[in-house]
């Protein structure tokens, strides 16, 4: 009996299932996907955002892109890992991030605008990816005019994918419309479903936002809600 139990424990240890969210061993290549912070979405994506890939979450205003990205950052920083947010338009709200559970001390925020515009933001993203310090780098391009994105060299995204490919890092693009993703990355299309309101007249409350996430590789879409407060 004890030998069987010992063998079972050893099998669990080898499969690293004794602790569900055990941090990887030193030097171990982290091949497990990065949790998005939303269990249902992780299941849709096959575990989460794939490491070593460029992924994107694109959608119109109020489709939940930022809330979803913050959920991923929150899940990561609460476990002690580091994340970076490249913000060329300076839209990031630390208060919202803190409400989402992000450990702000473990999130590097690069605020724009900087002379040189998008090209400096992309160069900074390259530095962040190459430093191997961060598990998630969010490049927030939502609100950037389409014309400015169109002026970027067409090799930009190939180059970033080549940079991130050998690394256990997720590069997540937040955009208004589909822009780019790596061959193994996820392109999540988010559609706004409107706000949830309760009450009438003065004292009426916005309790949340409905959103629908669709991944082209999956037939089914996922409906989820973003809460305005806990």
């Amino acid at each position: 009996m004890s030998a069987a139990l010992k063998s079972q424990l050893e099998d669990l240890l080898k499969a690293r299932r004794l602790q569900r969210d055990a941090p990887p061993l030193r030097g171990e290549r982290r091949l497990s996907p990065l949790s998005s912070g939303l269990r249902a979405l992780d299941e849709l994506m096959g575990g989460g955002w794939p490491r070593g890939q460029v992924s994107e979450a694109h959608g119109l205003a109020s489709s939940g892109r930022t809330g979803l990205a913050l959920a991923g950052v929150s899940a990561l920083t609460r476990k002690g890992a580091l994340a970076a947010w490249v913000d060329p338009l300076d839209r990031f709200s630390p208060a919202s991030a803190s409400d989402a559970g992000v450990d702000l001390a473990r999130l590097l925020w690069l605020r724009g605008p900087r002379p040189g515009g998008l090209s400096r933001a992309l160069a900074a993203t390259d530095v962040l990816l190459g430093s191997s310090l961060f598990d998630l780098v969010v490049l927030d391009l939502a609100g950037v005019p389409r014309a400015d994105l169109g002026r970027l060299p067409h090799t930009t995204w190939h180059r970033l994918q080549r940079t991130v490919g050998p690394l256990p890092v997720v590069l997540l693009l937040l955009t208004d419309a589909h822009l780019a993703h790596g061959p193994g990355g996820v392109s999540l299309a988010l559609s706004p479903g409107g706000g949830h309101w309760i009450g009438q007249g003065p004292g009426r409350l916005l309790t949340g936002l409905a959103s629908q996430a669709q991944w082209s590789r999956r037939v089914q879409a996922l409906r989820f809600d973003l809460q305005a407060f806990s």
Binding site: P23, G37, L38, R39, A61, S62, S63, G64, R65, T66, G67, L70, A71, R78, K79, G80, L82, D90, R91, F92, S93, P94, A95, S96, A97, S98, D99, A100, G101, D103, L104, A105, R106, L107, L108, W109, L110, R111, R120, A124, V127, L128, S131, L133, A142, P192, G195, W197, G199, P202, R204, L205, L206, G208, L209, F224, D225, L226, Q227, S230
Partner: protein
């Protein structure tokens, strides 16, 4: 054998005499103890091979001190106490043979023991004038009257040591210089030269279990100007490659402006950092790698605009400051979301500065909004949520609304109650 160097005058030097005496002592032996303010005790064991005669050694010590502008008095004895007292009280080199320490110090006045004034007064009333008088007293009587201090004073009066020599470590200096045969222009050749300077410097630091908390690079330019840069990363380091990268990145941002004739690098030493890794927590970032990454992002982080955001404890919505990004050891936050609470939160995409807006109000609620890049009727709204503060300083008072603009999304509007103006605070996403 032991020696004592006592400094009478220090000449015109601005360096404290004790430091100069230590320099003299360390030329001969590493075992030297500073006795502030003007004396140094030396352990002369082993020096007999170079100076067979003690008097020659005493004169060599005196000559070394005089070369530094000091006016010394030197005494050599087989007891440190005797050497110290004799160096202070007698001019000229003094050498006391073994076994004659008590006789040598006996004529010295009681003041040679550095006694407290009341003790000195007591001994004077007892009729004691010299160390020999004190040494001649019976130890039992001294102990009965003065306690344990009595016999100790009697031993000192006989020139006996009551404690071992505790060597004062030499002042550490970590600097390395390189003079170039011909001037160098550009960062690429400088990179090779920096490696030649940094590698021995870092090796010295590591050999002494030190790290560099800061590094100062002093470049002597061809026009005789000095281009100085001091780097102080978040964590001390002693890797030459890391420091070379940091220096080169800094020089890219702050170029010297002319060709370089000489390079001097000096380090501010600190004790090596002790790190205790945890088996359960995720691996923490290497401070050297973090410093290198932050240096590469200097154009974002200079001026404090980028880094780690810190919420300010105030009622003003969205108040924050940006601090240096330096994640410390991981500590699970007490107020963090619990497992199972995985619904994402609605986030604000802030407009900085808030966009002025024209809002049409009907029946006390916003009915339409027009701002830069956004216009349309408001289909739903929630509010007003009023907040105000800082009445003692720069007062603010606002009335917030969460609105849905037809076909455009959810936004946060607010009205400045002090000026009556409307602003678009951000988009809810």
């Amino acid at each position: 054998m032991f020696g004592c160097l006592w400094c009478i005058t220090a000449g015109a030097s601005s360096v404290p005499p004790i430091d100069l005496l230590l320099e003299v002592a360390h030329e001969l032996t590493p075992r030297a103890q500073a006795v502030p303010p003007r004396a140094v005790l030396l352990d002369l064991a082993g020096l007999g091979r170079s100076w067979p005669q003690p008097m020659e050694l005493a004169e060599a010590l005196a000559a070394a001190a005089r070369r530094r502008g000091l006016t010394p008095q030197v005494a050599l004895s087989w007891s440190r106490t005797a050497a110290l007292m004799l160096a202070r009280e007698r001019a000229g080199p003094t050498v006391i043979p073994a076994g004659q320490e008590a006789a040598a110090v006996a004529p010295l006045p009681l003041a040679a023991l550095d006694l407290a004034p009341e003790r000195l007064e007591l001994f004077r009333r007892w009729g004691l004038r010299t160390l020999g008088d004190l040494a001649a007293l019976p130890p039992e009587g001294l102990a009965a009257r003065l306690g344990t201090e009595g016999p100790r004073l009697a031993r000192l009066a006989r020139g006996e040591d009551d404690r071992p020599l505790v060597a004062t470590p030499a002042a550490e200096s970590f600097a390395c210089s390189l003079e170039l045969d011909w001037p160098v222009d550009g960062l690429e050749p400088l990179a090779f030269l920096l490696a030649r300077v940094l590698e021995p410097l870092c090796a010295t630091l590591v050999a002494r279990c030190r790290r560099a908390a800061a590094l100062t690079l002093d470049l002597l330019l061809v026009d005789a100007r000095h281009h100085r840069r001091t780097l102080r990363p978040a964590a001390p380091a002693a890797e030459a490659r890391t420091w070379r990268t940091l220096l080169l990145l800094d020089l890219e941002a702050h170029p010297p402006g002319d060709a370089i004739q000489a390079i001097t690098v000096s380090a501010e030493p600190t004790l090596a950092r002790v790190v205790q890794f945890s088996l359960l927590d995720p691996a923490q970032p290497s401070p050297e790698r973090l410093a290198e990454a932050m240096a590469r992002l200097h154009e974002w982080t200079d001026g404090g605009r980028s880094g780690a955001a810190l919420l300010v404890d105030t009622h003003r919505p969205g108040a924050f400051v940006v601090s240096t990004f330096a994640p410390g050891p991981f500590r699970p936050a007490a107020g963090a979301l619990k497992e199972g609470e995985d619904a994402p939160r609605l986030a604000l995409r802030a407009y900085r500065p808030p966009l002025p807006a024209r809002v049409t109000v009907a029946a006390g609620v916003p009915a339409a909004v027009s701002a830069s890049g956004l216009y349309g009727p408001i289909t739903h709204c929630a509010g007003p949520w009023r907040a105000s503060g800082d009445w003692w300083d720069a007062a603010w008072s606002r009335e917030e609304w969460d609105v849905a603009v037809q076909g455009r999304g959810l936004f946060r509007l607010y009205r400045d109650r002090l000026s009556g103006a409307w602003f678009l605070d951000g988009e809810l996403d």
